[in-house]
């Protein structure tokens, strides 16, 4: 879908910080508040804006630390629907936070989050492996999150090293 310059500007601003007020956003795009609201509504209804998630580093919150695993899955594609049907069966599980069809040594890559190793092991052995057409799974546990969705986790604090006043 081809977007206007104003629509692209709104997307860039939201991608950077979706908490910017509509008034500020309108000023940044150099348009009216009404027009900005219409643009956002349109982008949402066209499913270009999919959601407004907050990216939270749960590992820092006591009692909320999740275990994350990335699982490579080999499947047998089904005539007529290819990989879509089995993918749909997998992504319906609430534990699955992302799912991609991949080229290469395996077919599907999924990320799941659970409270414990046992929870993840149970998911893999009882829910995932038992799906018809799933041939094999390889589970990798995530040890530390450095960067996610373009955001650096727990990196050094950004400090402005510039002089307060300069040429």
């Amino acid at each position: 879908m081809k977007l206007t310059n104003e629509e692209l500007e709104v997307l860039s601003i939201l991608e950077e910080n979706h908490r910017v007020s509509v008034e500020t956003m309108a000023a940044m795009v150099n348009t009216t508040v009404e027009n900005t609201m219409e643009i956002i509504k349109k982008l949402e209804s066209d499913k270009i804006i999919v959601s407004y998630p907050a990216l939270i580093d749960w590992s820092k919150v006591e009692g909320k630390e999740n275990i994350v695993a990335m699982i490579e899955v080999k499947v047998t594609p089904k005539r007529g629907v290819g990989f879509d049907e089995v993918a749909e069966r997998i992504y319906r599980f609430p534990e699955v936070t992302s799912l991609y069809l991949m080229s290469g040594a395996y077919d599907l890559s999924l990320t799941i989050e659970g409270k414990s190793m046992t929870e993840i092991a149970t998911f893999v052995s009882e829910k995932l492996s038992t799906i018809e057409n799933v041939i094999s799974t390889t589970t990798h546990f995530m040890l530390k999150k450095y960067k996610h969705d373009g955001v650096v986790f727990g990196g050094s604090k950004d400090t402005d090293r510039r002089m307060v006043v300069s040429p």
Partner: protein, 403 residues
């Protein structure tokens, strides 16, 4: 310790005034938690691939001198860039010098063309170092004051009114620091006629060329009749977020470069070798990042102009750079008073317009090269400051009655 006697020093240097920015910097630096709209440099860190190229250069041991005018490979990239981006053709062999920042390029340009007493027209408000550079080269800086009525734009009439038999050159910075004013092609062509008519050399500071927001940028060297009399100055500081690298360049007709390279070889030898490798990477592979930075500045410009106007600080919309130059005349304060009171009361640093010449009185420079969060907070504080001011009508009348 006893001070050194005054006769130890050059008369030219003794007469130089300290930069108005530096003076204000000392005050701002003494206060904690200041939101700074006073910085004249990008808030982005140099794109990683450029930094990486410089690191690799060091790892591989490129620690020697380069040719005086810079690595040929870099000069080739510069000429390609000037051709592709601005449609001006230079030879990498004898028409380009890679300098230590655009400031040094300006320095050697003036030293190469000025004889004692030659006048150089400087479009004001102007970057703080222009007049001192002319003076240090033995010339006389002659300010041309532009005004907010026509967006601080230079016109041929300005030149006609200022030119004398001693006028040798004119220095134009577009987009301008501190006003952000950007001349369009038509305006440049009209100015070019006046420059040609009086046989002036044009020193064109195009260091903000990458940061224009509303129209495509035209280099003065691309305007009819200007190429042979233009010394084009540019650099990596602003567009590529490389201020601390101190890398600039100049391009000019061969005869100019022949003279300028002599000064450069006796004073500087060459720009740092490893940094030149970073600059090659900048020109080859970072156009997307430069574009993203440009878009970000544009959004912030739109916001700041609207916000300042809405709190009573009249502000034209600048076409480039990352500064706005709002009028503070309504407050009845001088630029210095306004900047100082704003800093002391609300901890927001802006630069008094007088730092950029007398014609800057009644204005302050605000840089929007800082995060949206900081800008929003700065506007909140400035709103509070404006509301707290008692507009001093008598003082205002006294100050601005002649303008």
């Amino acid at each position: 310790m006893r001070n050194a006697p005054q006769h130890y020093f050059s008369e030219t240097v003794k007469e130089l005034k300290p930069s108005g920015i530096r003076k204000f910097f000392d005050l701002a630096a003494s206060i904690e938690d200041v939101i700074s709209l006073g910085v004249g440099e990008p808030d982005f860190v140099t794109p990683w691939s450029i930094r990486e190229a410089a690191i690799l250069s060091l790892e591989e041991g490129f620690t020697s001198y380069t040719a005086n005018p810079g690595l040929l490979e870099l000069r080739q990239e510069i000429t390609k860039y000037l051709k592709n981006r601005f449609d001006v053709q230079y030879s990498p062999i004898d028409q380009v010098i890679v300098t230590v920042g655009a400031s040094l390029a300006l320095d050697i340009a003036f030293r190469a063309i000025l004889n004692p007493g030659d006048e150089v027209l400087i479009v004001e408000p102007a970057f703080v170092s222009y007049s001192p550079l002319v003076a240090m080269a033995g010339g006389n800086p002659v300010p041309i004051a532009t005004t907010a009525d026509n967006g601080f734009k230079l016109t041929p009439e300005h030149i006609e009114n200022a030119v004398t038999p001693k006028t040798k050159a004119i220095l134009i910075c577009s987009p301008n620091n501190p006003t952000g004013t950007c001349l369009n092609k038509k305006e440049m062509a009209e100015i070019a006629h006046a420059i040609e008519k009086h046989d002036l050399i044009l020193v064109s500071d195009e260091v903000y060329a990458e940061l224009t927001y509303d129209e495509d940028y035209t280099s003065f060297a691309a305007i009819d009749g200007m190429y042979e009399r233009t010394i084009l100055i540019n650099g990596f500081s602003k567009g590529f977020a490389m201020t601390g690298w101190r890398l600039g360049f100049l391009a000019a007709p061969k005869a100019f470069v022949e003279q300028m390279v002599k000064i450069f070889q006796y004073t500087t030898m060459c720009a740092p070798h490893m940094l030149q490798h970073g600059a090659i990477e900048a020109l080859r592979n970072t156009s997307d990042e430069v574009e993203n930075m440009r878009k970000s500045y544009r959004r912030r410009r739109n916001y700041v102009v609207q916000a300042l106007n809405s709190i009573g600080l009249d502000c034209h919309t600048p076409g480039g750079a990352f500064y706005v130059f709002p009028s503070i005349k309504k407050t009845g304060l001088t630029s210095e008073q306004f900047a100082e009171e704003l800093l002391l009361k609300e901890k927001v640093a802006v630069v008094p317009g007088t730092a950029f010449g007398e014609s800057g009185e009644g204005y302050v420079r605000c840089s929007y090269a800082t995060s949206m969060e900081q800008l929003q907070e700065a506007i909140k504080r400035m709103t509070r400051f404006m509301e707290s001011l008692e507009i001093r009508d008598i003082q205002k009348e006294k100050l601005y009655s002649n303008q």
